[in-house]
């Protein structure tokens, strides 16, 4: 028997695979395809202090082996999420990670605090890296001091473990990781999307209404692997890895790079069964490459 379980702060995962934030809504849609209790955990779509409509459409574009999105944090607001969405997911008895977004320190703290009285939420993913909000979200994700500050404030306000989600759009990802670790982060989540653009030849303007969008999907996997590998050498907190995962082999590559668990985003769109299929294939892939458990494989790409 291959052991898929992983223990992370606040999260007892029966397997290391979870849908990535924003790519799975609040679980309702994919629950019509399969039983969500199959999942290691569910990472919910970003929550903000108030309801947000998000950006104008078009909000997505396809790129070679990837896609751009500029959804713009559309969500019903944290209170509504707690009230109507969490009970739905919780019914599947699957660990829940709430993705916390905002455009000011106060908003981050407000959202994080709100989850204190939400039953069934096991951890927070602090989204300091959403590139698609004009009003500021992004500075938190690119400046180590601001990242540390928001991490610390959220840690003070929250009684849940906090995984800080890092943006790849930085010169020095290790500096960001170390800053939030020092500020008290319980874990990291990486990577968010890479800022990109597509220009529509017919209309002669950026295809996305927001002009730029976040690049995700298989195209960015090498960037994610590099960043996780680098960060792993400098921090001692666990990493939830993501960026282009679409197979159990990809999961193993992330584990070897140093991820302790993984999230699957864009692949859900291509194949709604991506997560359960990866979970089913993981034991055979681990065995094929000589591992009896997920734990065995974590960080094993770093040599002895």
């Amino acid at each position: 028997m291959t052991d898929l379980a992983v223990d992370l702060p606040g999260l007892k995962l029966k397997n290391p695979v979870m849908p990535a934030s924003g790519c799975f809504g609040f679980g309702r849609e994919y629950s019509e395809f399969y039983d969500l209790k199959k999942l290691g955990a569910v990472i919910m779509k970003a929550a903000t202090g108030e309801v947000r409509y998000g950006n104008k459409t078009p909000r997505v574009a396809e790129t070679t082996s990837g896609m751009l999105n500029a959804i713009g944090l559309q969500n019903p607001g944290v209170e509504k999420i707690i009230e109507t969405e969490i009970p739905f997911i919780a019914a599947y008895a699957v660990p829940i990670i709430a993705n916390v977004a905002g455009s000011s320190l106060e908003e981050y703290v407000k959202v994080a605090s709100a989850f204190n009285h939400a039953e069934s939420v096991n951890a927070l993913e602090l989204n300091i890296s959403c590139p698609n909000v004009k009003e500021g979200g992004i500075q938190f994700g690119t400046n180590p001091d601001m990242a540390a500050e928001v991490t610390q404030k959220v840690k003070e306000a929250s009684n849940l473990p906090v995984y800080v989600k890092l943006s790849p759009n930085v010169t020095d990802i290790t500096a960001m990781a170390k800053a939030v670790e020092k500020a008290g982060a319980d874990g990291l989540s990486m990577i968010n999307t890479v800022t990109g653009m597509q220009i529509d030849l017919d209309n002669k303007q950026p295809l996305l209404a927001n002009k730029t969008g976040g690049l995700s999907g298989q195209a960015i996997k090498p960037i994610a692997i590099r960043m996780i590998y680098e960060v792993k050498q400098h921090v001692n907190i666990p990493i939830i890895g993501m960026g282009g995962i679409s197979s159990a082999e990809d999961v193993l590559e992330f584990l070897l790079a140093g991820a302790n668990a993984v999230a699957v985003g864009t692949a859900n769109f291509q194949n709604p069964f991506a997560c359960p299929e990866i979970i089913d294939e993981l034991p055979a892939v681990l065995q094929k490459y000589g591992f009896d458990s997920v734990k065995d494989a974590i960080g094993k790409g770093h040599g002895v």
Binding site: T57, G66, Q218, P272
Partner: protein, 250 residues
């Protein structure tokens, strides 16, 4: 539970400039699809699926027809599929047209590649004994398709923008010639839908919308359309693609 299905290509034919008719075989889709729904097709090598409306259903033979126009790589590849090959799809997806209540006559207003779902609807309504009138708009003569199919359902007006076939102008140009009807159904480019809903604002009507999609199932918020000016919205892939004309803000 929702499904991912495999459809087997039966035939692919060109029916107008860059426009193809493809017949697919799949029992589940043929038995369950209603007019206005779409298939979310996976084309090899593409990250995102392509939404294509169901244009016709033959429940007896488990066949579904789709019509599509080549606009980019995905539709180009689709046009090159050969009989016997299979296509992975999510669907039938979305909500179809509403035709509850007492209807005696309907107007279908279709622009270009927006016509396919209306044909499927028209056939269904005609079977129910409802009188169908259609206005079909195309860019020019070489784009015209399915005129005969629609004529079988009822009086049909064809309009081309450049006047190379039928009436010259826009679908709205011929509306004053049309006898009254209970409800209209429209699908086509947004500017057309705006003109149609405006001109027919005194009628109840339904429109089918297009938007670029991520998931196609309601999970990613890519395909929203506002329902008012203060943050209300619907998802085209899940709540639509068909909406009551007064339900959304174009």
């Amino acid at each position: 539970m929702k499904r991912k299905v495999e459809l087997v290509v039966k035939s692919v034919d060109v029916i107008a400039l860059d426009t193809f008719e493809m017949t697919l075989v799949n029992e589940y889709v043929a038995k369950t699809a209603i007019p206005g729904q779409f298939l979310h097709l996976l084309v090899d090598g593409h990250t995102l699926r392509r939404p294509i409306s169901i244009a016709n259903v033959d429940r007896n033979n488990n066949e579904i027809t789709i019509l599509f126009k080549i606009v980019g790589d995905g539709t180009k590849q689709l046009a090159a599929y050969k009989p016997g090959m299979s296509i992975d799809a999510l669907g039938p997806s979305g909500n179809g047209f509403s035709y509850e209540g007492k209807l005696n006559s309907v107007l279908l207003v279709g622009g270009g590649i927006g016509i396919p779902p209306l044909y499927n609807l028209g056939k269904t309504l005609k079977k129910k004994g409802i009188k169908v009138t259609a206005v079909l708009g195309f860019q020019s003569k070489e784009h015209v398709f399915y005129e005969a199919n629609l004529r079988e359902l009822g009086k049909t007006y064809v309009v081309t923008n450049d006047g190379t076939y039928g009436y010259r102008g826009f679908v709205t140009s011929v509306m004053d010639q049309i006898e009254d009807f209970d409800t209209y159904y429209s699908c086509g480019p947004i500017p057309m839908l705006k003109a149609v809903t405006k001109q027919l604002q005194d009628h109840s009507g339904y429109i089918s919308l297009e938007e670029r999609m991520g998931c196609g199932v309601g999970a990613c918020f890519a395909c929203v359309i506002p329902t008012d000016s203060h943050g209300g919205y619907k998802k085209i892939c899940k709540d639509g693609p068909v909406f009551a004309a007064d339900e959304v803000v174009l």
